[in-house]
C-alpha cells in the first residue's frame, strides 16, 4: 500500500477553470444545478404563495369549469375555484409532507440503524427482525388502513409515512455503522475513552452524511408520490389542497379526458409532482457525489 504517493492528478498543476465550469463540474454538476434550481423554484413558490397566487384557492372566484383566461390563467375547477392558485398552494402541502417525512424517516433510520449497528448483539438482532417484518408488509395497503383508522390529517399522514419508510434506510445505515465501528480510528477513539455519543457525533454522523442526504431525498420524493397517490384515492386530508387531491377532483369529472380540459386541470398537478420528484432526485444525486468525494480529493 503506497497510497500516500502523490496521485497523478496532484502532480499536474490544476488550471483555473471558469466560474461557471467550476460550478457545473467541480461543485455540483449539471444535474445538481438543475435539481437545485427546480427545488428553489418550488420552495419560493411555497413560501410566497399568498403573493404569487392570483386568488384564494378556497374562494369561488369564477364560474365552474372556466377555460384559461386573464382572470383565471388555468381556468377554474368544477366548483369555480382558481386552478393556478390551487396549484400554487398545493406546493406548500407537498413540500411540507416531503420535508416532514424525510426528516422523520432519516431520524428513525439513523437512531435505529445506528443503535443496531453500534450495539450489535441481541439489540441488533431484535431491531433487524423488526426491519424484516416492516419490509415484508405491503406498504400501500397498510398505509391506507392506517389512514382510514387514524384519520387523514397532514400530521398523521406524515408520521405514518415516516413509520413506513424507515426500514430500508435503516438497513443501509446499520451496515455502514457496522463497517465504521470496526475501523481502527473508531476503535482507537474508544481506547482514548470516547463515549458512544462522542463516537456517534465525531466519527459516525459525518461519515453517514452521504447516506443521510440520499435518505432525505429519497424519502422526500417517495413522500410526494405517496401523498399524491393517497389523495388520489380519496384518503388525503380534504382540508389541505394538494396536487393529488386536485387530480382526484379533476378525474372525478365525468368525461374529463373527452375534452381538452385535462390539459390545464389534470396535467399541471401531474407535471408539478413529476418535476418536484425529479428536482429532489437530481439534487440528491449531485449532493451524494459531492459528499462522497470528501476525504478522497482536496
Amino acid at each position: 500500500m503506497q497510497n500516500w504517493l502523490p496521485r497523478a492528478a496532484e502532480l499536474t498543476a490544476p488550471d483555473k477553470p471558469s466560474a461557471l465550469r467550476r460550478i457545473l463540474h467541480t461543485t455540483l454538476g449539471l444535474e445538481g444545478v438543475v435539481g437545485l434550481l427546480l427545488l428553489l423554484f418550488f420552495v419560493v413558490i411555497a413560501l410566497f404563495a399568498p403573493m404569487i397566487a392570483p386568488h384564494d384557492p378556497n374562494d369561488f372566484t369564477g364560474r365552474p369549469l372556466e377555460r384559461p383566461g386573464v382572470v383565471h390563467p388555468l381556468g377554474t375547477n368544477d366548483v369555480g375555484q382558481d386552478i393556478l392558485s390551487e396549484l400554487i398552494y398545493g406546493t406548500r402541502v407537498s413540500l411540507l409532507i416531503a420535508v416532514g417525512v424525510a426528516i422523520g424517516t432519516v431520524t428513525l433510520a439513523v437512531l435505529i440503524g445506528g443503535t443496531a449497528g453500534y450495539a450489535g448483539g441481541w439489540i441488533d438482532n431484535l431491531l433487524m427482525r423488526l426491519v424484516d417484518v416492516m419490509l415484508a408488509v405491503p406498504r400501500l395497503p397498510l398505509l391506507i388502513l392506517i389512514t382510514v383508522l387514524a384519520g387523514a390529517g397532514l400530521a398523521q399522514m406524515t408520521l405514518t409515512m415516516a413509520l413506513l419508510f424507515w426500514p430500508g434506510l435503516t438497513r443501509v445505515i446499520r451496515a455502514e455503522v457496522q463497517r465504521l465501528r470496526g475501523r481502527p480510528f473508531v476503535r482507537l477513539a474508544r481506547h482514548f475513552g470516547a463515549s458512544p455519543l462522542h463516537i456517534f457525533r465525531r466519527h459516525l454522523l459525518p461519515a453517514l452524511v452521504p447516506l443521510i442526504v440520499f435518505g432525505l431525498v429519497t424519502a422526500a420524493g417517495r413522500a410526494v408520490a405517496m401523498e399524491a397517490a393517497l389523495a388520489f384515492l380519496g384518503l388525503g386530508d380534504p382540508a389541505a389542497k394538494s396536487w393529488g387531491l386536485m387530480m382526484r377532483y379533476a378525474l372525478n369529472l365525468p368525461g374529463l379526458l373527452l375534452t381538452d380540459r385535462w390539459l390545464w386541470w389534470l396535467l399541471p398537478p401531474g407535471v408539478c409532482i413529476t418535476l418536484l420528484i425529479l428536482a429532489l432526485t437530481f439534487t440528491g444525486m449531485a449532493l451524494e457525489n459531492r459528499i462522497d468525494n470528501r476525504g478522497q480529493t482536496r
Partner: protein, 564 residues
C-alpha cells in the same frame, strides 16, 4: 565475620555552598573490593580525597573509621601515619602525579623512606621488585617522567601506591584515557596484584567495564549521594535504582549493540540540589513524594536502594495471556499462547517475530483493543495511559478529520484543559515530533500528508495524553529506509525525553536492536526466547532467533559476489 577495614558513616564534604558529598555511608571489608560509579561531577573524586584527608579541615563532617579508629579530625602528622601505609591512592592523572625534575625511581622510593623509614638500599630493591610486579624494568626507574608513556607512568604510579604495602588501595580512574589494549593489561595487572597481595580495593571510575571486572561490590553515586549499592554482578546485570539503570544503559561497551542512549536532563547544580530525591527531575517514575522527601538507602530484596518506590517499578505485567480466533467453523486458532512479560518504567522492549507469530495480537491485547481469552494484564494507570502507534497510519485516522482534529481528539475526549489550552498542547506535540505547527498544516487532511508525516501525526496523537507506555506496531514498516531511521530515532528520543515505556513490535531484529533494552522473540504465538538486547543479538540460544538474525538485512558484498 570478616573484619571491617573501612567504615564510612554519614560523610559530608562541603566547599562553601557546594555540597559535594552529602551523607554517604558504606563499609569495606579487608581484602574486598568496591567500585564507586557515577557520572562526571557526581562526587567520586571528592569522596576518594576525603578518605585520604586531602580536603581542608572543617569541610569534612561525619565519620570515617579505619580499623575502628576515627580519621576525621586527625592532624596532618597523624594522617601521615595513615597515608601510604594503610591507605594509598593512585590518582586519575598519572602525568601530574610525578614530579618532572626527578627520576621516577627516586619518587617511588620517597614514600618508603618517609613512612617505613627503610634504608636506601632496601627501598631500592623493593622499588625494583615492584616495577617488575607491574611488568616494568630497572630501566624505567631511571627514566624521567617525560621519557615514559602514559601507560608506563600509570603502572609506576600503581607501583608507588603499593610501595608501603597498604591495606586499602584507592584507584581513581585507573583506566581513563587509555587505549583498549593497555586498559585490558591494566585490568589484568590489577587482578593479579590483588590475588598476590590481598589488599582491599576502592575503585573510583566511570569505566563501568573496569568496575565490573575488578570489584565484588558496587556503589552508585549520584549528586553526592549513594543511589544503590550491592553485589557488582547483580547491580550490573539488573540495576534497580532508576539512575543506575539509566547509567548502565547509557554506557557503551562491546557487549551491547544499542545506539548510545542517555539519561534525560542534566546533572543538578551542586549549589542548588533539587528538593526531595535528587534524581527526581530526571527520573521516569517520580511521584509526588519524590519531590518533597529525601529517600534513604534501604534494603529492598537484598540490595540497598535509595528510592521511595524501592527502585525501578514494573510498569506493565502480563501473566499467561491467551487469545484464540475462530475462523469460519474451524476450531479455535491460537494467536497468543501463554505469554508472560514485564515492562519496566522507561524501558524499551521489542517483540520480534515473523508475520503471523502473534505480535500484533499481543500488542492489541496489551492496549485493550482485544479482549484476552485468559490471563492477566496488570497496569496501574488509566487504560488510556497505554497508547498505540498502529502499523498503518492511514487506517488509524478518520479521513474526514484535519491534523488538528486528529491530534486533539484524545484531549477532547478526556476533556483536558480549555479549548485554547488543547490547541496549545496540539502545537507543542506536533513540534515535538518534528512537524510544522502553523494553521495551514493544522487544517490539512490525511490525504494531503506523506506517509512519514502522517505517522508523525499519529505519534503526536498517541503522545498528547502523556502515556506511560507506548505500544508501537511496526511503526516504520511502511516508510522508506531513511525516513524509517529518522522516525525510529525520533521515537527513541521522545521515549527517552518523556521517560515512558515503549513496546516495539517488529519483524526487523536489525532495526530494533538499535533501540531496545530487551528483546522478546515470538513464534507461533509464544515467546520462545527473551533477554537483554545485547545478549539476544550476540548469543541467541534458539535456532529461530539465529535465523531471524541471519535474515536481517546487511550489506553482504562478499558472500554474494562469488557467483558473478
Amino acid at each position: 565475620m570478616k573484619q571491617c577495614l573501612l567504615s564510612v558513616r554519614d560523610l559530608h564534604v562541603n566547599f562553601d555552598t557546594v555540597r559535594a558529598i552529602d551523607g554517604v555511608s558504606f563499609d569495606l571489608v579487608a581484602g574486598e573490593s568496591l567500585a564507586i560509579i557515577g557520572e562526571t561531577g557526581s562526587g567520586k573524586t571528592t569522596l576518594a580525597r576525603a578518605l585520604l584527608g586531602l580536603h581542608p579541615a572543617g569541610s569534612v563532617q561525619g565519620s570515617i573509621r579505619l580499623n575502628g579508629s576515627e580519621l576525621i579530625g586527625l592532624g596532618e602528622r597523624d594522617w601521615g601515619q595513615v597515608r601510604w601505609k594503610t591507605i594509598a591512592l593512585a590518582v586519575q592523572n598519572a602525568a601530574s602525579g610525578f614530579d618532572p625534575v626527578y627520576r621516577v625511581g627516586e619518587q617511588i622510593i620517597e614514600p618508603m623512606r618517609q613512612h617505613l623509614s627503610l634504608p636506601n638500599g632496601q627501598s631500592r630493591a623493593r622499588a625494583l621488585a615492584l616495577a617488575e610486579q607491574v611488568g616494568l624494568t630497572e630501566r624505567h626507574l631511571h627514566a624521567y617522567p617525560h621519557q615514559l608513556s602514559g601507560g608506563e607512568k600509570q603502572r609506576l604510579m600503581l607501583a608507588m601506591a603499593l610501595s608501603c604495602d597498604p591495606d586499602l588501595l584507592i584507584l581513581d580512574e585507573p583506566t581513563s584515557g587509555q587505549d583498549m589494549l593497555s586498559r585490558e593489561r591494566m585490568i589484568a595487572l590489577l587482578r593479579r596484584l590483588r590475588a598476590e597481595r590481598h589488599f582491599a580495593l576502592l575503585l573510583i571510575s566511570h569505566d563501568l567495564a573496569a568496575a565490573a571486572a575488578l570489584t565484588d561490590h558496587t556503589a552508585v553515586l549520584y549528586a553526592g549521594k549513594l543511589a544503590e549499592t550491592g553485589d557488582t554482578r547483580a547491580v550490573f546485570t539488573m540495576p534497580r535504582h532508576p539512575y543506575s539503570w539509566g547509567l548502565l544503559n547509557a554506557y557503551p561497551n562491546m557487549t551491547t549493540s544499542r545506539d548510545l542512549s542517555s539519561i534525560r536532563g542534566q546533572m543538578p547544580d551542586p549549589t542548588q540540589p533539587p528538593s526531595g530525591c535528587r534524581f527526581h527531575p530526571r527520573c521516569t517514575q517520580a511521584v509526588e513524594d519524590c519531590r518533597h522527601r529525601e529517600p534513604q538507602l534501604e534494603y529492598h530484596d537484598g540490595r540497598q536502594i535509595a528510592c521511595h518506590l524501592g527502585g525501578l517499578q514494573t510498569l506493565l505485567s502480563v501473566q499467561n495471556l491467551h487469545k484464540s480466533f475462530s475462523l469460519n467453523g474451524s476450531g479455535p486458532l491460537p494467536a497468543v499462547r501463554d505469554v508472560s512479560l514485564d515492562i519496566l518504567h522507561g524501558e524499551v522492549v521489542a517483540v520480534v517475530g515473523e508475520t503471523g507469530s502473534g505480535k500484533t495480537t499481543l500488542g492489541k491485547l496489551l492496549v485493550g483493543l482485544l479482549e484476552p481469552d485468559a490471563g492477566d494484564i496488570a497496569f496501574d494507570h488509566a487504560p488510556h495511559q497505554i497508547q498505540m502507534i498502529p502499523q498503518d497510519p492511514f487506517e488509524s485516522v478518520n479521513p474526514l478529520f484535519t491534523v488538528q482534529a486528529i491530534v486533539q481528539e484524545p484531549l477532547d475526549i478526556q476533556r483536558v484543559g480549555t479549548r485554547i489550552e488543547r490547541t496549545g498542547v496540539v502545537r507543542e506535540t506536533l513540534a515535538a515530533v518534528g512537524l510544522p505547527t502553523d494553521d495551514r498544516f493544522l487544517a490539512r487532511r490525511p490525504q494531503e500528508l506523506s506517509g512519514g508525516q502522517l505517522q508523525r501525526v499519529v505519534i503526536a496523537r498517541a503522545l498528547v495524553l502523556q502515556p506511560k507506555l507506548l505500544v508501537a506496531d511496526e511503526p516504520v514498516s511502511m516508510l522508506d529506509p531513511s525516513e524509517a531511521a529518522r522516525l525510529m530515532n525520533l521515537m527513541k528520543s521522545i521515549q527517552n525525553e518523556r521517560g515512558m515505556g515503549l513496546l516495539l513490535i517488529s519483524h526487523d531484529i536489525a532495526l530494533v536492536r538499535k533501540v531496545a533494552d530487551r528483546i522478546l522473540v515470538m513464534r507461533d504465538g509464544a515467546i520462545i526466547e527473551q533477554g537483554l538486547s545485547s545478549v539476544i543479538t550476540s548469543q541467541p540460544e534458539h535456532d529461530y532467533t539465529r535465523s531471524l538474525l541471519a535474515a536481517a538485512p546487511a550489506f553482504d558484498w562478499f558472500s554474494h559476489n562469488g557467483g558473478r
